[in-house]
């Protein structure tokens, strides 16, 4: 086996692989069919909202961003050529919109940024996940999630996005690269830097 790092080859998706049902739905949305648009929102709203929430960390902001994303999708869906899965294309829109919103937010509310301790005090600890484990284990997981949540908020937007898309949404490097508009090598370096930052946080626990 060669020592150089090899990566699993990924094929580009073609229209035929998008799926007949999805292709039909896209065509109907491009023709401004309201029922089709409603179906598309219904199908992807959870994914769009969840990613928005993970990137922005605020329910109202995430809900507003999700609406913006779907409106943007319907405005530009006629330009969708099946160069990726519809889901990946929508991820890209979410990321771009979230980046714009965060940039806008930072410009206007730079003075109102709060420390991590204040954030945890105001918003409370992250939600618990009971999976039948012992109380000690649950407590440990809760502490870890709290630390990582705080550390995630400290990461640069692009690193945080790459990590969220990989660990939570399970996107491949190729799909993350498409969503962020960067090369696979850049995705790998962003993931490595994000993990290194989180690892540094974990060492302090």
């Amino acid at each position: 086996m060669p020592e150089g790092l090899s990566v699993k080859p990924v094929r580009a998706i073609t229209w035929s692989e998008v799926g007949d049902r999805e292709a039909l739905l896209i065509q109907r949305c491009a023709a401004h069919d309201e029922d089709a648009c409603a179906d598309l929102v219904n199908e992807h709203q959870r994914m769009v909202y969840q990613l928005s929430f993970n990137l922005l960390g605020d329910h109202n902001e995430a809900l507003d961003l999700s609406q913006e994303v779907f409106l943007r999708v319907f405005r530009t869906i006629h330009t969708f050529r099946g160069q990726s899965a519809l889901r990946t294309w929508m991820f890209r829109i979410v990321v771009n919109q979230a980046r714009n919103r965060q940039r806008w937010w930072r410009r206007r509310h730079r003075a109102q940024q709060v420390s991590l301790d204040e954030h945890i005090r105001d918003h409370g600890d992250p939600p618990e996940h009971h999976n039948g484990s012992s109380p000690d284990r649950v407590l440990g997981q809760k502490l870890l999630a709290g630390q990582i949540s705080a550390a995630l908020d400290q990461l640069p937007f692009d690193q945080k996005t790459a990590l969220v898309l990989r660990e939570i949404d399970g996107l491949s490097y190729e799909e993350i690269g498409f969503s962020l508009g960067v090369a696979v090598g850049t995705v790998k370096s962003r993931l490595a830097r994000a993990r290194e930052s989180l690892r540094a946080q974990l060492r302090q626990i």
């Binding site: 086996m1 090899s6 699993k8 996940h129 949540s149």
Partner: protein, 248 residues
């Protein structure tokens, strides 16, 4: 299957964790970490980070996005009926692209202005530059750019009958009684005098009038090979005063 070193495994560990390696490499690394505690510890840390990120971003309850669909649909309908001015305003809501466009346009204009001003104020081609030397060497011998030397095969240029501008100028300008001026000149194919300069240690300033008069002179061009040719030559200009003896 070749065994991987710890360094090789460490380099691939993130890709392994993300399941982005080919099957063969996945198996090789899986085998390695089962027998190598340091690499296994690194992998555990990666997995712990992944679990932590997933734990920190718990799935939101479905109530969180209740009303999203109806909100989107009502805004879509509103957009379809909005006026042209409202649509234009919306196009410029996100001004950062507009600023980028304006900044790049301004940068292009500034660069264009700098280039044009450099062309405007750049000095003309120097005579001793490589380009000028190549241009002279590539010009045919006897042309104005590459004048020939006056030898036995070329007849010397001569004055045009009736043109007495040189004599008149010399008579009026020289303050000395006796003078021999060696001048380096080029006579073009049209008979014009170019590049007049005084040889030797004489001060050009003393003979500026003569040099200017020489430059304006028109001669019959040198002849060689059946036609006029440009030649470079040394022109000796003698000014002699003959004084007669006055008999008493």
């Amino acid at each position: 299957m070749n065994l991987l070193s710890c360094a090789g495994v460490t380099r691939r560990l993130e890709a392994f964790h993300d399941r982005e390696l080919a099957v063969g490499e996945m198996i090789a690394i899986e085998t390695h970490v089962q027998t190598c505690p340091p690499c296994a510890r690194e992998l555990r840390v990666l997995r712990m980070i992944g679990n932590g990120v997933r734990g920190a971003a718990a799935p939101a309850p479905s109530e969180d996005w209740t009303g999203l669909q109806s909100g989107v649909m009502s805004r879509m309908r509103a957009e379809q009926h909005e006026s042209l001015s409202a649509r234009s305003r919306r196009m410029f809501e996100d001004m950062h692209l507009v600023w980028i466009g304006l900044a790049s346009t301004a940068a292009t204009l500034i660069c264009g202005g700098v280039v044009l001003s450099m062309l405007q104020f750049a000095s003309p081609e120097r005579g001793d530059s490589l380009a000028a030397v190549i241009a002279v060497m590539s010009a045919p011998l006897g042309s104005d750019l590459n004048p020939a030397r006056l030898d036995g095969f070329i007849s010397a240029p001569s004055t045009v009958p009736g043109d007495d501008i040189i004599q008149a100028t010399l008579a009026g300008s020289s303050s000395r009684d006796e003078a021999v001026l060696p001048l380096s000149v080029t006579i073009t194919r049209e008979g014009r005098v170019r590049g007049v300069s005084l040889l030797g240690n004489e001060d050009n300033h003393d003979y500026a009038t003569i040099i200017e008069a020489m430059s304006r002179a028109r001669l019959q061009p040198a002849q060689g090979g059946g036609g006029p040719v440009a030649v470079s030559l040394v022109w000796l200009l003698a000014h002699t005063t003959v004084k007669g003896k006055i008999s008493s």
